[in-house]
Amino acid sequence: MTGTTARRGFIFTLDALLAMGLALAVIGLLVPFSDTTSLPGHDELHVQRYTADLLMVLQRTGDVRRGLSGNTSALNASLSLTSAGKCFSFRALNMTTSETVFAVNKTGCSTVPATLASAVSNEYYNGQTYRLELLGWVS
């Protein structure tokens, strides 16, 4: 009886060790799934999408066309409504010569950093096609 009890105890201990090993393995395997850190470049991608969406909005609302006609106040107003902490710089260029027709910066966003998001589109206005560029960055 004593021998059997000891052997049973040994197997129970081995079982417990295996269970502990399994638990550790499960924890080790689950740790990568609980990743909460930001992906490298995630913020930049967010600004990139924000910038592309904003350029589309500026075109759809007619702000760009008003700017091409010489009135940039609507563009200024729209840029000022964007999220705090985000900066934008808009330019309309002659498609063939790449000369800037007009440019508008969001107020307080004069310093353009090296790393930024950009979106490009085009606008047909008065028989001419203009190239539109919107740069975006986190201030």
């Binding site: 059997t4 052997r7 049973r8 197997i11 081995l14 079982d15 295996l18 090993g21 399994l22 393995a25 499960v26 395997l29 990568p32 799934f33 992906l39 490298p40 470049g41 995630h42 991608l45 990139q48 999408r49 592309a52 969406d53 350029l55 589309m56 075109q59 759809r60 498609m95 063939t96 979106a119 490009v120 589109s121 085009n122 606008e123 047909y124 206005y125 028989g127 096609t129 190239r131 560029e133």
Partner: protein, 287 residues
């Protein structure tokens, strides 16, 4: 001996369970995308969104190039309301369409870091068409004609309501209205705003018989509105002007499934990074 055998079987069962569980966890872990793959996915998604915006933007610009403005909305009772406005007399937009296509495939392709290949030939020969499943809006420069006709492969526009709006600085001398049909299948409204006032007419018309509405202005200048059949095509609407300038609007209410998407008879082929899309240019995709 019986107890000893049970313990051994228990140990083997536990061991096999542990091994299987570990194997399953390892398979799950290795089947998860890596950070690099997730970044690649996000980057591809970004290119995909950019291409989609390029299609939307080009369709919008094409409206400006061709001078055809449109608005759409879905009604609560299962219909879609499609409204088109254009200048009368029509300007020939063919050269502008061709020029815009060359800008897209040339300078703008480089600026957008994409390969853009427009196919605008169908709308650069004097006739621009924006179509849905069953109905097409056309602006035909050679015949100075604007209106609705059945889309290719159909013979009926299927309009429940048709509203025609014409605004001009000219003065209407006289008009000859069409005769309404008591059992007509289309509710047609004509609203004319001219220098001398406003004319409003409304009634039912049959889409399978011819109806003419004449608007006579100074001299021999005329605007003709037509609704009915053209050959085997039913529910055709045309507005023709000899020399009267103004703005013409045409609004059609159609069953939503027949008009849930409207697109130019023109397509765009765009390749950007790993994303490639070749489709018609939609001005409305339901909503």
């Amino acid at each position: 001996m019986i107890l000893h055998g049970s313990l051994r079987r228990g140990f083997v069962a536990t061991f096999i369970t542990c091994a299987l569980a570990t194997l399953i966890m390892l398979l799950v872990a290795y089947s998860q995308p890596s950070f690099a793959m997730r970044e690649r996915y996000l980057a591809d998604y970004s290119a995909s969104a950019t291409v989609r915006q390029l299609f939307d933007s080009t369709a919008t610009q094409l409206s400006a190039v061709t001078g055809i403005n449109s608005t759409f909305n879905r009604t609560a009772d299962g219909y879609a309301n499609a409204t088109f406005y254009t200048n009368f007399l029509l300007q020939n937009s063919s050269a502008n369409v061709t020029g815009y296509a060359s800008v897209l495939s040339g300078n703008f392709s480089g600026a957008a870091s994409a390969v853009i290949a427009p196919s605008f030939s169908a709308i650069s020969s004097g006739r621009v068409v924006v179509m849905s499943n069953t109905t097409a809006f056309f602006a035909d420069y050679p015949s100075q004609s604007v209106g609705f006709e059945p889309a290719p492969s159909t013979t009926r526009t299927g309009m429940r309501n048709l509203s025609i709006y014409f605004s001009t600085a000219a003065t209407l001398n006289e008009s000859t209205a069409w005769s309404y049909d008591a059992g007509g299948d289309t509710n047609v409204t004509v609203r004319l705003v001219h220098a001398g006032g406003t004319v409003l007419a409304n009634g039912l018309l049959n889409s399978s018989t011819a109806h003419y509405y004449w608007l006579n202005f100074s001299g021999s200048d005329k605007v003709m509105l037509y609704y009915g059949n053209v050959g085997s095509n039913m529910g055709v609407f045309r507005a023709n002007s000899t020399a009267v300038s103004g703005i013409l609007g045409a609004s059609a209410i159609l069953p939503y499934p027949n008009a849930s998407a409207w697109y130019f008879n023109a397509s765009l082929n765009v390749t950007k990074a790993a994303i490639r899309r070749n489709s018609k240019l939609f001005v409305w995709e339901g909503g």
